[in-house]
């Protein structure tokens, strides 16, 4: 087959949106689109992929796939890939995808192009666009190996509904248990419904100007008002001060994000921070220092004390929402 195989990631019993994004992109490439979905209970979810262009859906289901452990998932996926013989493999550059994709590429003895924000097919070749230096530069990259393994940043492409043949086949994989050496002792996932910063559509972020961990509550309140696709973030200064966990950090040594709206509260806008959020569609900056560099990049700037602005903004949004 000369088509595309996508990896459909399952999390909390659902296929992640990123899988639909890469499936519909694969359909645009032309050729057959095969999907591989791995997880406990994956069989019931598989038909959803047909709505986004999957012609054939390979299901690897079983209790041993309840938690993501790279070796088992990589072995299962590689077995499906050996059956499908795709010329292109697309994965999502989610937290799991960043672990999974290079391991798959290594097992197939090819390279990978990771965390791409655009892909175009030119003949048999895929040219992928990816940020480097946390978004301070972009590279157009071509894969020389076969298959071409490419991971796509979540939210970068958008999912388009397009019908695929959707034939579901359950695959019994033979795992080499001697290679599966890591054993999961426990998994702790916060009972939050907030999306990860890299996948959020709205981020309300706080920096040094927040003055302390106790003040982030109002940013959480503001994010909640924006709805379930919103979450909170933080600058490196706030994280290094211990006010927020490092998983909240946006910037060059944290997460690179690209939401529809980024609200920066008390963030001066260091080059490392701007690199990490510079591709946000709309940037709002609230800072009492009119000279803060963030105002040179913000679409809307409010020069005032955030401790007065944010509570007032919460009230005003509540009024609008009625």
């Amino acid at each position: 087959m000369a088509g595309t195989l996508i990896y459909a990631e399952v999390q909390k019993g659902e296929i992640k949106k990123g899988a639909f994004e890469i499936a519909s992109k694969a359909k645009e490439f032309g050729g057959d689109v095969a999907a591989c979905v791995i997880g406990k209970g994956a069989e019931a979810l598989a038909p959803q992929l047909a709505k986004y262009g999957a012609d054939k859906i390979y299901v690897v289901d079983g209790p041993e796939f309840e938690n993501y452990v790279p070796e088992a998932f990589v072995q299962a996926f590689v077995q499906v890939a050996q059956t499908v013989q795709p010329s292109i493999i697309l994965t999502s550059a989610s937290a799991q995808g960043k672990d999974f994709t290079p391991a798959v590429a290594a097992r197939l003895n090819v390279g990978a192009i990771s965390d791409c924000v655009g892909v175009a097919k030119e003949g048999d070749k895929v040219i992928a666009k990816r940020p480097m230096y946390a978004g301070k530069a972009y590279a157009q990259v071509e894969a020389l190996g076969n298959p071409q393994v490419i991971s796509i940043r979540p939210n970068a492409l958008g999912a388009k509904e397009v019908a695929g043949a959707g034939a579901v086949e359950k695959v019994a994989v033979n795992l080499d248990a001697s290679k599966i050496k890591a054993t999961v002792k426990s998994v702790e996932v916060a009972a939050t419904t907030e999306p990860d910063q890299t996948e959020a559509e709205i981020i309300v972020s706080g920096g040094r100007g927040m003055k302390g961990p106790e003040n982030f509550g109002m940013l959480e309140d503001l994010a909640k008002l924006f709805g379930p696709t919103a979450t909170t973030g933080a600058s490196r200064a706030a994280v290094d001060a211990g006010w927020r966990g490092h998983s909240y950090q946006v910037g060059q040594t944290g997460k690179t994000v690209s939401p529809n709206l980024y609200v920066a509260c008390g963030i001066s806008g260091a080059i490392q921070h701007m690199a990490g959020m510079g591709t946000s569609k709309v940037i709002v900056a609230i800072n009492k220092d009119a000279e803060a560099p963030i105002f040179t990049k913000a679409d809307y700037g409010v020069v005032d004390d955030l401790f007065n602005v944010v509570p007032a903004l919460i009230d005003e949004i509540k009024k609008i929402k009625g």
Binding site: A106, G111, V309, L313
Partner: protein, 258 residues
């Protein structure tokens, strides 16, 4: 406990990136150890101290200048190093080629664990740790924020960051680990450390001497800068409340997000 740390020298995060062909202009750049690799170096030294002995070996692929970052790691407390000094190989190296060279160098060493940063902060690929592990035939745990080896050094209990939470795993050693922020606080090199580092052994080899023949599997065709962002408007108003009202109105009517 014997460990190997793979580190990459990268431009400091303050660097304003300029494009030169299919790479970046290197004039005026301050070169440093990639931030996540600093966590890897610190963890290796910390574990050596905690476990009462052993050796920390640095492995780095890079041109002549990379030796400065190797010496910095030695000054922090690493014991010796392999510098794969091969400008021609390095210039074309993608994550695949980098992993081939690093794995070839690591193969000849004795170790209980290999530490790397979860990604280099120049190309941001996040691929090398998994690829090195695969080439060495070892288990890999990425995004590690806590590392606790057993007293017999036969296994380790590690905590890795996953989306929205954490996962705790038991892994037999040797194994490959990629460091995430939160693992530790990297130390600064002390003055006596810097003096001692000058005398620590560094084995300099090129890729050919390591028997590495694999070339890159990806190639950069073009580089560009993101479109410059223009300053927008400063919201006017008599006080914070009025400004907040105007901002809410703009988010509602112009951005249409509320």
């Amino acid at each position: 406990m014997n460990t190997v740390v793979c580190l990459k020298q990268v431009p400091d995060t303050e660097t304003l990136i300029k494009i030169a062909g299919t790479t970046i202009a290197t004039d005026g750049i301050k070169w440093v150890i990639s931030s996540f690799d600093e966590f890897a170096v610190e963890e290796a030294i910390k574990q050596k101290e905690k476990m009462g002995g052993g050796k920390v070996t640095i492995v780095s692929l890079g041109p002549d200048r990379a030796i400065e970052s190797v010496r910095t790691a030695l000054a922090m407390g690493a014991d010796d190093a392999v510098h794969i000094n091969d400008g021609a190989y390095y210039d074309k190296a993608d994550p695949y080629a980098t992993a081939q060279a690093l794995a070839a160098a690591v193969k000849g060493l004795t170790y209980d664990a290999v530490f790397l940063g979860k990604q280099a902060i120049d190309d941001d690929a996040s691929q090398v740790p998994a690829m090195v592990g695969d080439l060495l035939g070892l288990p890999v745990v990425t995004q590690v924020i806590k590392f606790e080896p057993a007293a017999d050094k036969k296994s380790a209990t590690v905590t890795r960051e996953i989306e929205g939470g954490q996962m705790v795993l038991d892994v037999p050693l040797p194994a490959v680990f990629s460091a995430q922020k939160g693992l530790n606080e990297p130390r600064y090199a002390s003055l006596p450390g810097i003096m001692k580092a000058k005398k620590k052994p560094v084995d300099v080899k090129n890729a050919g001497a390591l028997g590495v023949t694999a070339g890159p599997m990806t190639v950069i065709k073009e580089m560009s800068l993101p479109p410059a962002r223009q300053a927008g408007k400063i919201i006017a108003g008599d006080d914070a409340k009025a400004k907040a009202a105007a901002l809410a109105k703009a988010l509602h009517e112009e951005v249409k997000i509320i």
